[in-house]
Symmetry: C2
Amino acid sequence: MLKPGATIGILGGGQLARMLALAGARIGLKSHVYSPVADDPAFDVCSAHTKADFLDEAALAAFAESVDVVTYEFENVPARTAEVLEAHRPVRPNPKILALTQDRLIEKQFVQSLGVATAPFAEALDAESLARAVAQLGRPSILKTRRFGYDGKGQTKIVEGVDLADALKDLGNAPCILEGFVPFAKEVSVVAARGLDGEFRAYDVCENVHEHHILATTTAPAAISDSTAQTAIDIARRIAEGAGYVGVIAAEMFVVRDGRGERLVVNEIAPRVHNSGHWTLDGAVTSQFEQHMRAIAGMPLGSARRHGKQVVMRNLIGADVDKWAEILAQDGACLHLYGKKAARPGRKMGHVTRVTP
Amino acid sequence: MLKPGATIGILGGGQLARMLALAGARIGLKSHVYSPVADDPAFDVCSAHTKADFLDEAALAAFAESVDVVTYEFENVPARTAEVLEAHRPVRPNPKILALTQDRLIEKQFVQSLGVATAPFAEALDAESLARAVAQLGRPSILKTRRFGYDGKGQTKIVEGVDLADALKDLGNAPCILEGFVPFAKEVSVVAARGLDGEFRAYDVCENVHEHHILATTTAPAAISDSTAQTAIDIARRIAEGAGYVGVIAAEMFVVRDGRGERLVVNEIAPRVHNSGHWTLDGAVTSQFEQHMRAIAGMPLGSARRHGKQVVMRNLIGADVDKWAEILAQDGACLHLYGKKAARPGRKMGHVTRVTP
């Protein structure tokens, strides 16, 4: 177990790294943030920072030597980066999860290997295999690049009339998978933590609404049956245990309602703190950020108990952030801003949480 | 009104400055911390810091020029320091409050001028005036230095048999006041904020227990009658308004119970965030630290609503901090550590908060 005063190395300097560093400071942990981007949001709140490329091996080695454990705020950490860091210090979560979650095909195969349902899928490496996949899964279906997709980027819908070669070209002819359409009633996620000792604690299952492919609101708890909620948490636990995971993990799932009741289909795994867990900063005893820092430091996990009857988190995307003064004046609104300078469209600038007492 | 991205200058680099900087970062404010002490707790969480003496006028001027507003975490800011800073940037709270609160005599006169009760007091500049004061106020009574007292330092009890010249000598023959003994049932405090626009918001009156003259626990709400609680908040409002105050202020009061019921006697004013307000970090919608940053930035004040039924904060003094691992493992305990290296006896190392749902 690391002691207070230890230094956590964080790869990436965005809002997740910023909130991790702030949460670490609460419990006496220092943060050293590593990012190639000058003026990244996390640089303002850490005890040390390195501005260098993720493939700068000398900088990576010096960074690792200056910290006690390394973690990351994003899943697209290059394999070589993780390898260099691991030669010096423990990297948590274990980088094996990166290989699993960087590739949608491998991720889905892993989830299915645990006996957990995913959307039906098939590989689509070229026009020919895409044609076979469409014949199998039908239209509408969704073509996604295997790697580097987020917030709706790297995907396109295959509806009637779409030319398959054009669709592949739209995605840069990158290796893809085709996912069958899941007629879901709602999307939920489980944000949970697994400690170094295997202890597992999940927050309430929460419900997510997306607008323009970007998370707009998260509401905790989700309006689903108790047994579905318990199943969702069990799935997250199986994923975390199956991957030998340490830290906070998020599992996004679709809730499908049919004659047989509610069932769950895993959509995506994020091996990190997650936007759908931001409500825990104001709405839970221990935030997801502190929970992650505790887990990777080998400390006991904190209580994941929710405050109040309901917690709603709304993202402030792009120009939404201009309403900051109005939000500050609203009774019971908790505003969080990430310190980003330019409010470009689609950019996550902050969020606001409201706890119903 | 300052905008997110603005920089708050904080004089002092201890735990209060640290928690102010962390709270400012939540709402997108940067902090520049000024302290003469290397490795001060706040240096780890701010976007800039200056290590220089409080009387280094060149460093003060450069600091002030680099920020948008200046605040402070302690009331013993030298008058000249405030004067130099004010020539460059607004200093909030207005440094006039420093003159009031740095001197126990002037502070008590100010409180009485508002029609608010204090302990009976008399000046004690030398053995002769102390003898007159003791004749007037009786024994037991408490001799306190007019300036620079905290956590029981700079005071001594005048009981039967105490030699008055020795008592004065114990306090370095500094100018003192003698305070009459107040047979109080409990000590409470009001932590409240006044905005730049005059808006006033108070947290629940809380109850404080001291051990060895240092705050041990704070419990919110205090177990006092509703009307006493309302009176306590009204007193804090009169003090804040009377001083033209902007920011978070704390007023410590004694609750005296006699045949006529409960009455309040103001003991001390702190022109800053206060240890008895630390519970608000986990136990209120807006923490005292964010509230202070909002107020001095000219932003709207946040909700001071309490979470849960009761909130208890316990200070971790000296070796208490060695129990950090045990506390982390306790269900519902929120641990805060200040990042101090040496756990000297009597030193505030952190605190732990428990919210009863």
